[in-house]
Structures are given as structure tokens and as C-alpha cells.
């Protein structure tokens, strides 16, 4: 068996007295799509943010392709990396936010080329060629010169996906990528994500779109109260859930 692309082990995270993650394990193999579902406040966002070290974890570790994120190991102790090294390792992880967080003062093209140029040191023409390719992939070739505010929500989120892909990341994390969209715009973003999943991109997606989970997920993970309650292929978790809590949650969203 190959090394997992994403390996999350025994992750704990508290905000003050509130324990948000209580020992989470998660393994994602290269090319796999994992969909995380669960009720509000169960810690899904916190888990995603811990994976690329936007949140510091209290205990446990996260490794991408065998390399720790945010820490280095010395003996059996972990030390936090310097900010510069953390930033470098983050370029291996794409992140798509619920509210897009595009840079409003930069054009679509500049949004996509910014990180490859400044974080990875790619030459501008190479970065621009890549951006053109990615914008075509998300169906926005004609919008390269536009500013984010001139686009619809669905278009903005597709740009955000192109921006995340421009780093050529080993894994792309999506935190409720369609939740901020009007219902008629959800479809276009889901289409892009499905195509991405089929092309063999390793993805972890937090979503309430059960349809997406059914269609492209290799694994569905149900989280509640900071723990993984159950995980398995979509047919099993979505159609024959073993736990009452999963059943109760699904009866509400389906």
C-alpha cells in the first residue's frame, strides 16, 4: 500500500475550555476524494484548517505525502516550524473557502498567478500560461482581465478553485464551497469539482451536497462533536449508516 497523501492522527484542538476536535484520525490515499459531512459546529472547518496549519493543533499530527505540516520531528518531539517554512509547506495544499476570499484589487489572472510567482518563484510567463490553462478548465477563459467583484458568486468560486490549483497542490481542501451561493449557481461549481475529482485530484470536501458525495466520493466521513463517528464508501455511510447519530443527521439533510 502506498503512503497516504493525507494522514491525520489523533488530532486534538481546543478553543479555551471548548474541545472542538477530540482525537480525529483520517487517511486519504493519492487520487482519492473524501467528503466530510456532519452537523454545524461538529468541527469540520476546524479539521480542514488544521490540515494546512491555519489552526495550530494541541496534540496529534498531520502529514501530507509523508511530510509533517507545520512541525518538524526531532526524536519523538514535535517542534513548530518557522513561519517561512510553514508557508512553503502550505503550497502543497490548496484551500477553497466558503466565501471565496479572492483578492478584490487584483484581476482574475493576477489572483491565479500571485501564489505561483511569489510563493513558488515561478517565472511570470510560465505562471500566466498555467493560469490560462486553469481558467479554461473552470470555464472562465474570457474573464481573465475582470476583477472578482464583476463576477457572479459561482464564477468567483471557480476562480478560487483555479487559484488553489495553480500551486499544483498535492491535495485540495474545500470548506463548504457552495454554501455561500445562490441555488442556481451551485451546479456550475459542483460540475468543476466533479471533473476535478475524476481527473484524479486528491480532495477533501466539507459539504452539505449529498449528491456530490454520492457521485464522486471514495470515502464519506461523518463527524459529530469533534470526532469521526463513521466512515466508508458512500453507499454504506449514506444508505446503510451504522450509527444512530449518522442516521439522525442524514434524515435531516436528505
Amino acid at each position: 500500500m502506498s503512503t497516504p497523501m493525507v494522514d491525520v492522527r489523533g488530532v486534538h484542538k481546543s478553543y479555551g475550555p471548548l474541545e472542538v476536535l477530540r482525537g480525529v484520525d483520517l487517511t486519504v490515499r493519492p487520487g482519492e476524494v473524501t467528503v466530510i459531512i456532519g452537523p454545524s459546529g461538529s468541527g469540520k472547518s476546524t479539521l480542514l484548517r488544521s490540515i494546512n496549519h491555519l489552526e495550530k493543533i494541541d496534540c496529534g499530527y498531520v502529514a501530507i505525502d509523508g511530510e509533517l505540516v507545520g512541525y518538524r520531528r526531532s526524536g519523538d518531539r514535535l517542534y513548530e516550524l518557522r513561519e517561512r517554512d510553514i508557508l512553503r509547506r502550505r503550497t502543497q495544499i490548496g484551500f477553497v473557502f466558503q466565501n471565496f476570499h479572492l483578492f478584490p484589487h487584483l484581476t482574475v489572472r493576477e489572483n491565479v498567478t500571485e501564489a505561483p510567482i511569489s510563493a513558488q518563484g515561478r517565472p511570470r510567463d510560465e505562471a500566466e500560461a498555467l493560469a490560462a490553462e486553469l481558467l479554461e478548465q473552470v470555464g472562465l477563459s474570457d474573464k481573465a482581465g475582470a476583477y472578482p467583484r464583476q463576477l457572479s458568486g459561482g464564477q468567483q468560486q471557480r476562480v478560487a478553485i483555479a487559484r488553489a490549483l495553480a500551486l499544483r497542490p498535492k491535495v485540495v481542501l474545500f470548506d463548504e464551497p457552495t454554501s455561500a451561493l445562490d441555488p442556481e449557481l451551485v451546479g456550475e461549481v459542483l460540475e468543476v469539482m466533479k471533473a476535478l475529482a475524476r481527473s484524479g485530484t486528491t480532495m477533501i470536501v466539507v459539504t452539505h451536497e449529498i449528491g456530490l458525495a454520492r457521485e464522486v466520493a471514495d470515502t464519506v466521513v461523518f463527524m459529530d462533536a469533534g470526532q469521526v463517528i463513521e466512515h466508508g464508501p458512500p453507499r454504506q455511510v449514506l444508505d446503510q449508516p451504522r450509527h444512530d447519530r449518522t442516521r439522525a443527521f442524514l434524515s435531516k439533510v436528505l
Binding site: N52, F95, F97, F103, H105, E114, A119, Q120, R149, L167
Partner: protein, 282 residues
């Protein structure tokens, strides 16, 4: 009627105003005022930006040093500070370079090092920096934290996060406040008259003390202050447009464009006859 009184009442002395408006000594004073303002603003905002970044940094020592600076320089009146720097220069007439309490290697006249002009520019800049720091800091705080998060998630280096992602967006709120400060300083430079520096306000006083035409000379100064602030307001408008790029769906028109648009609409309305409410917007 009021306008009529303004133009015809001989007390206003319009011929004298005309005679002195472009008088060389007045022009020099205007230039000096512009210089002092520019020095005060440029140095003030440079130092202010450094102070703001210090306060926003995660290093407690830097943050508290910057806080202390702002506290001190916002507390002491500008006029007091100016007199302080000026007299400090006068107090230590000689500044010696050498081993403390030992032989002096060489010494310079402190009036050369801190002459009245330097003292004035320094005072204005140090004072301005405290306000600029707060304006710049406020600008950074006005940027959606999600922007920084997105930049961090993309692995963009820290300095680049600040200058490429945050600062341009912070400028949206910095520019109007900075515009206020600059215009305030144009007029604020008049306080350096207490150091007998030939800026605009001091210069017109010198002239009316000689010729007794107080109202006329004050009008000369007022006209120049109006001209300077008008120019600055136009510049500010264009700078705001520059940093508004991408932040509104369409850029607001420049005053010239707006005037042209209103004219076209009027003409079209006249041609079409009935009223048509096509104002500034689409």
C-alpha cells in the same frame, strides 16, 4: 447683493490683492509652505507606516514601542514641540563628536544640524507620524481578515502578504483620511510662523505690518490656501480611483467625465423634448 458688496466695497482692496498675489516674496512663501507640507507628510507617513507595522507585528516590544510613540506625540501640542526642537538647537549651540567627557574630535554648530527649517520639518514630521500611524493601522484593520487567511493558505511570503494583498486594500480607507491630514497640514504649517520662518502666513503678516493692508493680505493668503487645497483634492480624487480599482463594480467618474455626461444628457433631453431622468448612473 452680498457678492456685490464683496466686489465693490473699497475696504476689500482688490487692487492690492491683485498686486501681491504673485509678488515674488509671496510666491516664495507659497513654495516654502508646499515644501514644508511635503516634507511633513512624506516623512510623517513613512515613519507612520513603520510605526503601524510595528504595532500590528507579533513582537510585543515593537508593538509597545510604537504605542508609546503615538501616545507621546499625540499628547504634546505641535506648537510646543516645534518650540522645543527649535530651542534645543539653540540650547546646545555646539554639538561635539568624540568620547563622552573626553576630547572632542570635531564639533559642529548645532544650528547647522538643526536649523529652524530642519526643526520645523522635523517637528511637523514627528507629529504627523503619530497620526499617520493610526490612520495606516486603521486601514489595515479595515481589510477583511479572510484576505490574510487566503494569502497565508496560498503560502505567499509575509512581506508580500502585507504589501501586495493588505496595503492596496487598506489604501481605500487610508487615502481619504490621509487627504484630510495633508490638507490639514497645508494650513497647519502656518504654526511655524512662531519660528519666524517665511511660510505663507508669516510672510503676509510681514507685508501687512509694513503696508497696513491687513484684509487684502489675509485675502492673498486665503486665495493661495484655497488653490493648494483644491489641487490636493483633485489629486486625492484620482488616487482614490486608482485604489478603488476592482473594489466597486464600476469606477466612479472623474469630475470631468461627470460634467461631460451631464452635458450630453442635457443635450439629448433638449433634442428629445420630454424630460428624461438619465442622471449620473446607468
Amino acid at each position: 447683493m452680498a457678492v456685490n458688496a464683496l466686489v465693490t466695497n473699497p475696504a476689500w482692496d482688490w487692487p492690492v490683492v491683485g498686486a501681491y498675489l504673485f509678488h515674488p516674496s509671496v510666491l516664495h512663501a507659497v513654495l516654502f509652505t508646499v515644501e514644508l507640507t511635503a516634507l511633513g507628510i512624506v516623512l510623517g507617513f513613512l515613519l507612520g507606516t513603520v510605526l503601524a507595522l510595528m504595532r500590528l507585528s507579533r513582537v510585543p516590544l515593537l508593538a509597545s514601542a510604537a504605542w508609546g510613540y503615538v501616545w507621546l506625540f499625540r499628547s504634546v501640542p505641535l506648537i510646543l514641540q516645534l518650540l522645543f526642537w527649535y530651542n534645543l538647537a539653540a540650547l546646545y549651540k555646539q554639538i561635539s563628536f568624540g568620547v563622552p567627557f573626553g576630547p572632542a574630535f570635531f564639533s559642529v554648530d548645532s544650528m547647522d544640524l538643526i536649523g529652524p527649517v530642519t526643526a520645523a520639518a522635523l517637528g511637523l514630521a514627528l507629529h504627523q507620524a503619530a497620526y499617520a500611524a493610526e490612520i495606516v493601522r486603521g486601514g489595515f484593520l479595515s481589510v477583511d481578515p479572510g484576505q490574510l487567511e487566503a494569502a497565508a493558505a496560498l503560502g505567499i511570503p509575509r512581506a508580500r502578504q502585507i504589501f501586495r494583498i493588505q496595503l492596496p486594500q487598506a489604501m481605500r480607507s487610508i487615502v481619504p483620511a490621509a487627504g484630510n491630514e495633508i490638507i490639514g497640514l497645508v494650513k497647519g504649517t502656518s504654526v511655524v510662523y512662531i519660528m519666524a520662518l517665511p511660510e505663507l502666513f508669516y510672510q503676509v503678516q510681514v507685508i501687512y505690518n509694513r503696508n497696513g493692508r491687513v484684509i487684502a493680505m489675509l485675502l492673498v493668503a486665503a486665495i493661495w490656501y484655497l488653490v493648494l487645497t483644491t489641487v490636493l483634492s483633485v489629486v486625492q480624487h484620482h488616487v482614490e480611483r486608482r485604489f478603488g480599482r476592482g473594489l466597486a463594480r464600476t469606477l466612479p467618474p472623474t469630475p470631468l467625465e461627470r460634467a461631460r455626461r451631464i452635458l450630453t444628457v442635457r443635450r439629448a433631453a433638449r433634442r428629445q423634448g420630454p424630460a428624461w431622468d438619465g442622471g449620473g448612473r446607468r
